[in-house]
Amino acid sequence: MDFLRPALLWGLLGIAVPILIHLLGRRRVRTVPIATLRFLERARARASAHLKLRRLLLLLARAAALGCLALLYAGPGCRQGAGPEGPATWVLLLDTSPSMAASRDGRVPLEDGRAALRAILGAAIPGDRFLFATTRDGDPGWHQGFSADPAPVRRRLDEAAIAFGPHRIGAAVETARALLEGLPGGRVALATDLQASAWSERGAGSARGAGAPVQAIDAGLAAPRNAWVAAIDEGEAAVRVQVGASGWPAGEVPRRTVHLALGDERRLTAFLEGTETSFRFEPPPGVYEGEVRLEPGGDLALDDRVAFVGRGRAATRVLLVNGDPWGFEIRDELFFVRRAFAPGTRLAGAFQVREVRLGDLVPADLAEVDAVLFANPGPLGPELVDAVRRRLEEGAGVVVTAGDRWSTYESAQGLEPILAAPVRDVVTLRPDDASRRPFEVLDLAGLAGPAALFRDRAAGDLSGVRVERYWLPEARVGEGVDVWMRLENGAPLLVERRVGRGRTLLLGTTADRDGADLCLQPAFLPWLERVLLHAAGRLRPPLAPWATAGYPLELPYDVPVAVDGPGGRLFWAPGERFVPPVPGVYRIRAGETFLDAFAARIDPAESDLTRLAPEEVEARLGPGAGTAGAAAGAGPFSGRRDVSAWLAAALLGALVLEAVLSGRWRRVRGVGELGLEGGRMKGEG
């Protein structure tokens, strides 16, 4: 037997108290005159045979009661055969994957597992050391170190909650074994629901190595059943919902109801017999939020209500500013650009195009425009230049193509605030000049930025572009100017500069046939699409509509953004990792400008609550592994058994014996209870 608080064993000296009272108490007696001693003497004679024994038993009962009380306070326990000899070193592992949040009839595996680990802590003996960690990757508990005091470990255990993100049970067990290597009495207690997917090679891997014995505490629900929203796909005019189910025998899967909610106004319901249903509706413009709810959803509630983000149809709005309109259409500056957006082309649906003459352009035309294409612009008034610059800073894009109206230095000067770089010179190659080549071609190896795609000729062949006239930008002077296209002679042809959150691009030749034959190339359409999308800031990789809570997500932004999620506002900068901590909808903003939104949900693998057989778990955990139910408490795992309950029973027994022997429990009975009534015998007529 051992004790948690051996210092309190000094309380055993209290046993001397009843003995002293027994010995000394007889000295102080009260004198009572009595009519006759006859009956007392007879009573003593009758009881004398038992009196000494009774008195001895009474003394023993009192001493035993005090002894049991002192031992109880000292925290008694005894060793069990299965436990380690001497103090042990424990690693307590709690599976905090979302599947542990399943619930049935008030039973939650997480709480059962927590209680089982708490029982192990409660059975600690002096010298035991503990380390608590969850199975989540990178859990900080691994860095806490072993603690000889169960209190902080219990506190961390109590605070552990469902954690979203990768859970690798096998890796956690291996880490625990590595920590315990070489330590005496090392043991690993793992409380888990034995969910099969958590033990799969893909999810958590397996721990097959030898080392400290592992006791798996099966805290899971028996025969778990779950249904969940597996996928939500946004189509042209419908949302398709797929449902998953596990645990029900084939043919017994209950009929389910799927609710779709779009904001507070639109609610749709479908009754689902199979695994898929569709909701047809007119999607609202732009980005919108919705929620799919499934009922009944089975044991796990986390996956019954899933939010999603729809993007509707959002065409890029482009304003074409014609700087040199002609009456003869084929000579018009925007003839080829206009043809590129004509109905039936690949750009028709992706762009919402509006055209205006430069002379008719007013600042109001620039509102709600994603990109502006200035074709051969002439001088702009300061008011217009200022409006364009403000729009640029707000995030819109500007593409300026050169032309005849730039022949004078003064016109370029007027556009300078919105140009990617000031124009230094105009180069015109003459066919009759035998001293030089009559045209320049693109340096395909130098293509970068939005044009980098065309290094691969399969995406669009720009090798046939011939430039006969080009405007030389001062690319070296303009700080922050990037060159996306160059001529073979090194002259920059397409340059970009960031203005605020927007960008302005300058094409150093014309958009028609006057300066180059780019507009005649088959690659013109994809080139124009990419340049305009890049200018509008939409060429970045599309943001995934779905994310998994706890798993990192790639954000396709090159500026710092703020992400407003269910747990508050998070900040992200390029190069950092972003992890949505909990399920819900996240809205991305740059300053006050809304950029996009996405929804995070739990790992779909967690929804399948199918359990692994305990034998399989033991086989994966390797030698020394065992599995027991959570109700077993600390019993099968602890080397020490708390005997407080037995001592408490002994204390109670001693108190009852003392009460019986001392006669205090008997109330003072009247004569009537002795069979006598006033005036006559009982039963007398």
Partner: protein
């Protein structure tokens, strides 16, 4: 033990409530208008309206009492006998021995067993005097034996109270001797109410009552015990001091309580059986009991001494 002063006063002894309860329950009616004729039935045969039995005619019997109808029918001579009704005489024999002082620890003689006995005797005397009977008192034990001859009349109650209140319980009761003395002083047809704890050695066999019965008197026994004597309510180790002697006993009462109660119970039951065997009406009272029902029964039996004797 210190002298028990002051004595019991008239107010201590006379309990008007108890007297009223006894009178209400037991007094059958107003006193008889005939001199020398009371409410109590005599063991003697006499002239009255209450038929008792038939007896065979013997020479000298009053022919007025011959049952002529029976003679006409059967040709046999039977004489009607009637119960005689006379005034009752009663003597209250109160135990004033030292053991009756028990219970005087806290409240003096007023909370003692003697006070209980004297109070009950006084109530009984008041009831008997109210219905015209003659009542006397004899104290058994005490510093000096006291004998108050039975007399009727309201003045006798004061004398009874004075005798009871002036007693100093001491010594032994010697109830047998006391009963013999009372029997010698009284003629037949008198009831003797004995108030005692019967704790004296040898008194358990009710020898005194038997002597009284032999003399044709009607003894009634009121067995009194203090509530503490019955229950032994003491918790801690106690030195028990014998009131009538120098002996003492140091005991732990708790383990003895059950055996003690069984002893007391056997004592009380044994005395009751003795009384029943002798045909002596008997009542047991502890300090915690309501005395009115038991005394009422005794009083009722005192009105029919011959019937009680036949039982």
């Amino acid at each position: 033990m210190s002298p028990l002063a002051p004595m019991l006063t008239r107010a201590d002894l006379f309990d008007p409530v108890l007297v009223a309860r006894l009178s209400r329950r037991e007094i059958p009616g107003p006193p008889s208008p005939y001199p020398h004729r009371g409410l109590h039935r005599s063991a003697r045969r006499g002239a009255s309206l209450e038929f008792s039995e038939h007896t065979l005619y013997a020479r000298g019997d009053d022919l007025r009492h011959l049952d002529w109808k029976f003679l006409a029918k059967t040709d046999r001579f039977l004489v009607k006998r009637y119960e005689d009704e006379r005034l009752q005489r009663a003597v209250l024999l109160v135990d004033a021995s030292r053991s009756m002082v028990y219970g005087a620890e806290n409240g003096g003689l007023r909370s003692s067993k003697y006070h209980l006995a004297a109070r009950l005797a006084a109530a009984l005397a008041a009831c008997l005097l109210r219905q015209g009977d003659a009542v006397g008192v004899h104290l058994a034990g005490g510093e000096e034996g006291v004998w108050l001859p039975p007399r009727s009349g309201s003045a006798q109650l004061g004398a009874v109270l004075e005798v009871l209140g002036g007693a100093r319980p001491a010594g032994e009761a010697a109830l047998g001797t006391a009963c013999r003395g009372v029997g010698e002083r009284l003629k037949r047809d008198a009831a003797v109410f004995v108030f005692s704890d019967f704790l004296d050695e040898g008194e358990e066999r009710l020898e005194g009552a038997r002597l009284l019965r032999a003399r044709g008197l009607a003894p009634r026994v009121v067995h009194l015990l203090h509530a503490e004597e019955v229950d032994l309510p003491f918790e801690n180790t106690t030195r028990f001091l014998d009131l009538e002697g120098p002996a003492n006993l140091v005991l732990d009462p708790l383990p003895l309580r059950r055996a003690y109660r069984e002893e007391i119970s056997a004592f009380v039951r044994g005395l009751a059986r003795q009384a029943e065997a002798l045909g002596v009406p008997h009542a047991f009272l502890s300090g915690a009991d309501d005395p009115a029902p038991a005394l009422g029964r005794l009083l009722r039996r005192a009105q029919r001494p011959h019937r009680a004797a036949r039982r």
